[in-house]
């Protein structure tokens, strides 16, 4: 029983990381209709700028993390304004390829500044562990879970009760109608990118805190692990991103221990994709996605 609870705790933590990464994709997709592959670059910049501000400039870790999140949010908004906005409504593929180009640009720039070695980010959690009864969980994982819950709650309230949140939803549903009501599509697009940048940055910071020394090249690849989560939950559903992330994280962790060897080596790596395909067969829009209706 304890072992299963331990695995469940690991799955929830992993699921929260997936959820944070997926939320960034979902927010931009929901508000602008663009599938933003540059999200992986925000993960990288969040982690490295925190390292820079904390380990090289000497700011306290939390201050460095907050400043990094704000910095990446600003970078993301600028990227949208400079490179993406003009092509956002061109067609389906052009904006995706532009964001892919932005993704390709970012890691080499980071490597040029900070090299390609493993780095110690210097987070306050290190290897500290909290025990809840028989179950142990690292402080870092607790932080991931708590912040994910806060982020989800804030998003829920933001989209439901604020003018800006409603404006973002309106722009997503019908840009022309929203524009006619005085909603600035530029503001909405930039804000959604800024939020995605902030989420990516936070995800990157948390990924880099694994054992206190998880910062290194290739962080951008982790954002792509969120792809099946996005499809599973619904590409424009923040709630779907969170629920999808948790489902994938928990099932993947249990699959490590309980999936039969007969299924093949590395079966747990395939589980998210199997889930995604199974859900798409039944609900093509994902668990929490909205079915599109077209008038002909």
């Amino acid at each position: 029983m304890t072992e299963n609870l331990q695995i469940l705790a690991g799955g929830i933590s992993l699921g929260c990381v997936f959820a944070l990464l997926a939320l960034g994709f979902v927010i931009v997709s929901k508000a602008t209709g663009v599938f933003n592959l540059a999200q992986g670059g925000f993960v990288v910049w969040g982690a490295y700028s925190t390292y820079f501000l904390h380990q090289q400039v000497g700011l306290p870790f939390y201050v460095a993390a907050v400043l990094s999140i704000l910095f990446v949010a600003l970078v993301a908004a600028v990227m949208e304004a400079v490179a993406v906005h003009k092509v956002a409504s061109k067609n389906l593929y052009t904006p995706i390829l532009v964001t892919f180009g932005l993704l390709m640009m970012m890691p080499p720039v980071v490597s040029a500044f900070w090299g390609t070695g493993q780095l110690t980010i210097g987070d306050p959690w290190g290897l500290k562990v909290i025990r809840i009864g028989e179950v142990a969980i690292t402080e870092r994982n607790v932080a991931v879970i708590v912040v994910t819950l806060i982020v989800v709650a804030v998003f829920g309230l933001f989209f439901r009760y604020t003018r800006l949140g409603l404006a973002m939803q309106a722009t997503a549903l019908d840009p022309e109608a929203a524009l006619a009501q005085g909603v600035s599509d530029k503001l909405v697009h930039r804000l959604s990118w800024a939020i995605a940048g902030a989420l990516g940055a936070f995800g990157g910071i948390m990924l880099a805190t694994a054992g206190g020394v998880g910062l290194g090249p290739g962080l951008e690849e982790y954002a792509l692990l969120a792809l099946p989560v996005i499809i599973l939950g619904g590409i424009e559903s923040p709630l779907g991103a969170v629920v999808g992330g948790l489902i994938v994280g928990i099932i993947q962790q249990f699959a490590v221990v309980y999936a039969a060897e007969d299924f093949g080596v590395g079966f747990e790596e395939v589980v998210p994709y199997l889930l995604m395909i199974a859900v798409m067969l039944v609900r093509p829009q994902g668990l929490f996605g909205t079915r599109k209706v077209r008038r002909i």
């Binding site: 690991g10 992993l14 792809l227």
Partner: protein, 423 residues
């Protein structure tokens, strides 16, 4: 004008792009080279007759999670080539030039990288990763390209176009575990397990551990698998702990180790770990995981005392400009070993008067042995039955040896129980 049906297509586009992402990107750094001939030497691609320069190529992970490892290997190679060039070149005449293409540690990108540099090089001085090496074997056979693999899988040792230089993963883990058991014979009764990648590398560790434990009637109790990008290893660690594993053979790179230590600490789990040298990183000495490494881990690899002056080759490597002031690591030695193999082969081919692809292949078939100045065991190149080094240097983690942290406690150790000849 909005694209009709745009959001409906985004899911499909995302899927297509996630597939496309696996097939992108590779960068080559070209510093010249070419082809031609000379009056004395029959030459093919990679030889510049005007400057008497032989260009050799690397396919390494210049980007991605193990880029730092790859760059250290590259520096180790460059240090040897610099030494040879400073002495006038091979046979006092032919300088070596090194170019590199990026495979990002992915097999499909290795093929792209190969196509990018194949016409510029005489041979491949290094190809990083067993999957990349295996992907290139049929192509190398077709093109008669000699390849020095940066891989330690036993199954590739007799491939005719490869010049393997290192002890295998199987030998490494067998020696590491044998070292622990010979220090403390009570450990023969321990439970032995593997935490390894869900690929050939993990299988190699399992094979080596299965072999050595059979020598005292034990077996591998559990083989917990994980993916190279997994960051949450609680389930795997729980699996190992529940099985009562006391000595664990590990396959993985430095970027995986923080997650391993984090999960082990979370479960208050302290088995003895046997890891390859590539699982260590300089950053660890100042990180929270350093104490766990010191208490619970030993590392295996080529080399010797990294700070001592006993071995002249290590001393020269440590002081070489190519390291750019960096502390000597086993990765540097790894690259150095590859470069020694390259120049040994080129010397033979130049003696034969032929450094074409066919000439280099012929030289490889005629080469009987490659020696490495005491930093690696000899490679015996009996056709179809090559013998790779069976010895391993055992390192413990010691903060006093920081920042790199590896202190050689036993140089060139070979398990007294013996090593399977097929390793």
């Amino acid at each position: 004008m909005k694209f009709p049906n745009k959001r409906a297509g985004v899911s499909v586009a995302a899927l297509l792009l996630s597939a496309a992402l696996t097939a992108t990107g590779c960068a080559a750094q070209n510093s010249g080279g070419g082809s031609g001939g000379s009056g004395e030497l029959k030459a093919g691609p990679g030889f510049d007759a005007k400057t008497n320069t032989i260009t050799v190529g690397n396919i390494l992970a210049l980007s991605g999670p193990i880029a730092a490892t790859a760059r250290e290997q590259l520096a180790g190679q460059q240090a040897w080539y610099d030494k040879i060039n400073a002495a006038g070149g091979i046979a006092g005449k032919y300088k070596i030039n090194l170019i590199t293409a990026d495979n990002a540690y992915e097999a499909q990108k290795a093929v792209q990288a190969y196509n990018e540099i194949k016409d510029k090089v005489a041979l491949l001085s290094g190809v990083l990763g067993t999957p990349s090496v295996k992907a290139l074997i049929p192509i190398a056979n077709r093109d008669k390209m000699v390849v020095i693999p940066s891989a330690q899988d036993a199954s590739i040792k007799d491939e005719p176009q490869l010049l393997p230089t290192f002890s295998t993963y199987q030998s490494e883990v067998a020696n590491g575990v044998s070292y622990l058991v010979n220090k403390d014979p009570d450990l023969k009764k321990a439970k032995f397990c593997v935490l390894g990648y869900n690929n050939q590398w993990g299988e190699d560790i399992n094979e080596g551990l299965t072999y050595i434990t059979s020598k005292w009637g034990a077996k591998v109790e559990t083989f917990a698998k994980y993916g190279p990008t997994d960051t949450q290893l609680t389930a795997q660690m729980q699996q190992l702990k529940s099985a009562g594993c006391e000595i664990i053979g590990f396959s993985g790179a430095a970027n995986n180790v923080p997650a391993v230590v984090s999960a082990a600490t979370q479960l208050d789990y302290k088995p003895k770990w046997v890891m390859g040298f590539m699982a260590n990183a300089t950053a660890f000495s100042e990180s929270p995981i350093a104490d766990y490494l010191k208490e619970n881990m030993i590392f295996t690899g080529p080399g010797g005392d990294l700070k001592g002056d006993e071995n002249q080759t290590l001393k020269e490597l440590r002081e070489s400009k190519a390291l750019n002031g960096a502390e000597l690591t086993v990765q540097h030695i790894y690259g150095h070993i590859q470069a020694i193999a390259v120049t040994t082969l080129l010397e033979k081919a130049i003696q034969n008067g032929d450094i074409t692809r066919e000439g280099l292949t012929k030289a490889l078939s005629e080469l009987e042995k490659v020696s490495f100045n005491g930093i690696n065991g000899d490679v015996i190149l009996t056709p179809g039955n090559r013998t790779l080094p069976h010895s391993t240097t055992i390192y413990e983690y010691d903060k006093e040896y920081s920042p790199y942290g590896l202190k050689a406690v036993e140089s060139n150790f070979t398990a007294p129980e013996g090593i399977d000849p097929k390793f």
